[in-house]
Amino acid sequence: MSVTLLSVATAISQAILGAIGSVLPQPASGAVTNVNTVDGLAALIFAAILLLASMLNTIVLIWWERKLLGRFMDRRGAMHVGYAGLLQNFADGIKLFRKDTVKPREADTLGFWSGPTAYMVTSLIIFAILPVSTGWNSGSLPLSLLLALAVFSFAPLFIFVSAWSSNNKYSLIGGMRSAAQMIAYEVPILLAVVAVVLVSGSFDLQTIVLEQTNYWFWVPLFLALVVFVAGMLAEMERIPFDLPEAEAELVEGWNTEYGGMMFAFFMLTDYLRALLGSFLIVLLFLGGWTMPGWVPAAATSFPLAGIFWFMLKVYIVFTVFVWIRASLPRVRTDQLLRVGWNRMVPLALLSVVLAALLVTVKCLPVLGCIPTLGG
C-alpha cells in the first residue's frame, strides 16, 4: 500500500537500469543493475520529480494569485495566453530566461550572480524535507522540522549579499530591511514551532502530522498559529510585510538591479517560499494530509488522496494570503520590527507556556472528542 516518492523513484530507476542492463553483456549489465547504481539514479529521479513538482506548483501558484488578485480588484487577470491565462507564467518565464541579464559595472560579480542562485537553491532544498503525504518525500527524518527551518532561515543572508553587491542604494536599503525583518520574525516563528513540538513531542514532521489525526493543532495552539502566520507573512515578504520590495518608496527593493534570468529566480523563489510557508502551516497546524473523521472514507482512500487533500489545504492557505494581500496596506519598517520584538515574541512565549500547560494537565485528548475537529 505504502507508495512513497522514494519507492516510485526506485521503481523507475530499476526499470530504466533493467532495460539498459538487459541489452548489455554480463559484466557491464551487472555493474549497471547494481543496488548502488539503482539507488543513485533513484536519488536523481527523486530530485527531478521534486524539482518539477515544486516548480509546477509554484507556477500554478503565481497564476492562481494573479487570477485571484484580479478578481479581488474587480477585473479578470491574465486571460489571453492559454486557457484563462494558464500559460501566462510560462511565457513570462521563457521571456525572462531569453532576456539579457545586465550586471552593473560597479556591482560585485561574485555576489551579484551567486546571491539569487543560492537564494533559490536553499529554498528548493526544503522541498526534499517536507512530507506531503505518508511516506512521500524523503521518509521519516527525526529532525526534519529543525532542518527545514534552519535552511529556510538562510534567505536573509543571500538577499543581503545580492542587495549589497548590486551597488544600488534602493537595493541596499531593501536588503537591510529584509535582513532585519527576517531575523526579527525568525524568533517568534521558532517559538511558535516549540509550542507545536511540545504538544506533538517530536521534531519529525511525519510524526507531527500523524499526531494530528485526532485533532488538528490549530485548536489547542491557536495563539501559536496566529504568531506563525504573521511571522510567515514577514518571512515570505508579502503584504502587509513586503517592505523590502516596497514598490512605493524603494523601486523594487533588493531586486532593483536584477533583470532577466536572475529576476526570474527571485520571482520564482518568492513564490517557492510562499508555497513553503503554506506547506509548513498546513503541516504544523492544519493536520497535514489527515482529514477529520466525518469525511467519508471514499474521499480519503483513493490513490494519492493524501497529496490531494494536502495540496488543497495548501492552496486554501495561500488563498488567504492573497486575500490579505488584496485588502491590507503595508506597514512601516520600524512598526514591523516593533511589532515583531514587542508583541510577537511575548505572544509566542505565551503560546509556549499554554502548550506546556496543555501537555501537563493532559487535557489534549478531550479535543479529539469534538466531532468537527477530527476523528
Binding site: R66, G70, M73, D74, R75, R76, G77, A78, M79, H80, V81, G85, L87, Q88, F90, A91, D92, G93, I94, K95, L96, R98, K99, D100, T101, V102, E247, V251, E252, N255, T256, E257, Y258, G259, G260, F263
Partner: protein, 201 residues
C-alpha cells in the same frame, strides 16, 4: 545490420572489420579507421550542424517560441510623463485590464522590455529617458504614445520640448491621439505583438 554488429564489437575492440570496402590496408584495425574518419568528419559535421541550427533551427524552431513568450509577456516601464500616463494607468484599471494580455508594469528598467513614452518629453528629461532606455536589457521596444511623444504635439514649438521621442531613442510604434484612449494604447501594444511575431534575430 552490419554497422550495429561492428559497433557492439568495437566496445571490446577486437573485431577486424575487414569486410568494410573502404579499408584498403588489411592490417589496420577498425577503430583506428573510425577515429581517422571521425577526425575528418567532426569539424565538418560541427560546421554543418551549427549552420543548420543557425539558419533553420533558430528561426524555425526556437524563434517562434521566444517570440511567443516575448510578445505575450511585455513588461512596460512604470512611469508617467504627462497626460497619457493617466490613460496608461486607466488601461490597467478594471475596465480595460491590460493584465489580460500579460502586460505588467515594472518599476525597475532592468525588468522591462517595453518603454511606453506616455507624454511630452522635455529636454530636461531627455538624458534620463536615454539612460532608462540604456538600462533596459535586450530585446526591448519603445512605443511613442500620444502626439507629444510622436512629434511634440501642441507643444511642438515650445523651447523646452523635444519634438518627438524618436530624436532620442529608436521607436517601434507610434500611437496617435491626444491622449490616446486606453483602447488605442492596448491596440498599439497588440500591433507591437504582431511586429514581435515576425521578428528575426
Amino acid at each position: 545490420m552490419n554497422a550495429s554488429s561492428v559497433t557492439t564489437a568495437s566496445g571490446t575492440a577486437k573485431a577486424p572489420g575487414t569486410e568494410l570496402p573502404v579499408v584498403t590496408q588489411p592490417g589496420v584495425p577498425f577503430i583506428e579507421i573510425e577515429t581517422l574518419r571521425a577526425k575528418e568528419f567532426l569539424p565538418a559535421a560541427k560546421e554543418a550542424l551549427s549552420a543548420m541550427i543557425a539558419e533553420r533551427g533558430r528561426e524555425d524552431l526556437t524563434q517562434p517560441v521566444f517570440n511567443w513568450a516575448g510578445r505575450n509577456s511585455l513588461f512596460p516601464l512604470h512611469w508617467g510623463l504627462a497626460c497619457c500616463a493617466i490613460e496608461f494607468a486607466a488601461a490597467f484599471g478594471a475596465r480595460w485590464d491590460a493584465e489580460r494580455f500579460g502586460i505588467v508594469p515594472r518599476s525597475s528598467p532592468r525588468q522591462c522590455d517595453l518603454m511606453i513614452v506616455n507624454g511630452t518629453v522635455t529636454w530636461k528629461v531627455a538624458h534620463k529617458l536615454i539612460a532608462l532606455y540604456e538600462q533596459m536589457p535586450e530585446p526591448k521596444w519603445v512605443i511613442a504614445m500620444g502626439n507629444c511623444a510622436t512629434g511634440g504635439g501642441p507643444f511642438r514649438t515650445a523651447y523646452s520640448v523635444v519634438p518627438g521621442v524618436d530624436k532620442l531613442v529608436p521607436v517601434d510604434l507610434y500611437i496617435a491621439g491626444c491622449p490616446p484612449r486606453p483602447e488605442a494604447m492596448l491596440d498599439g501594444i497588440l500591433k507591437l505583438e504582431e511586429l514581435i511575431r515576425e521578428r528575426k534575430e
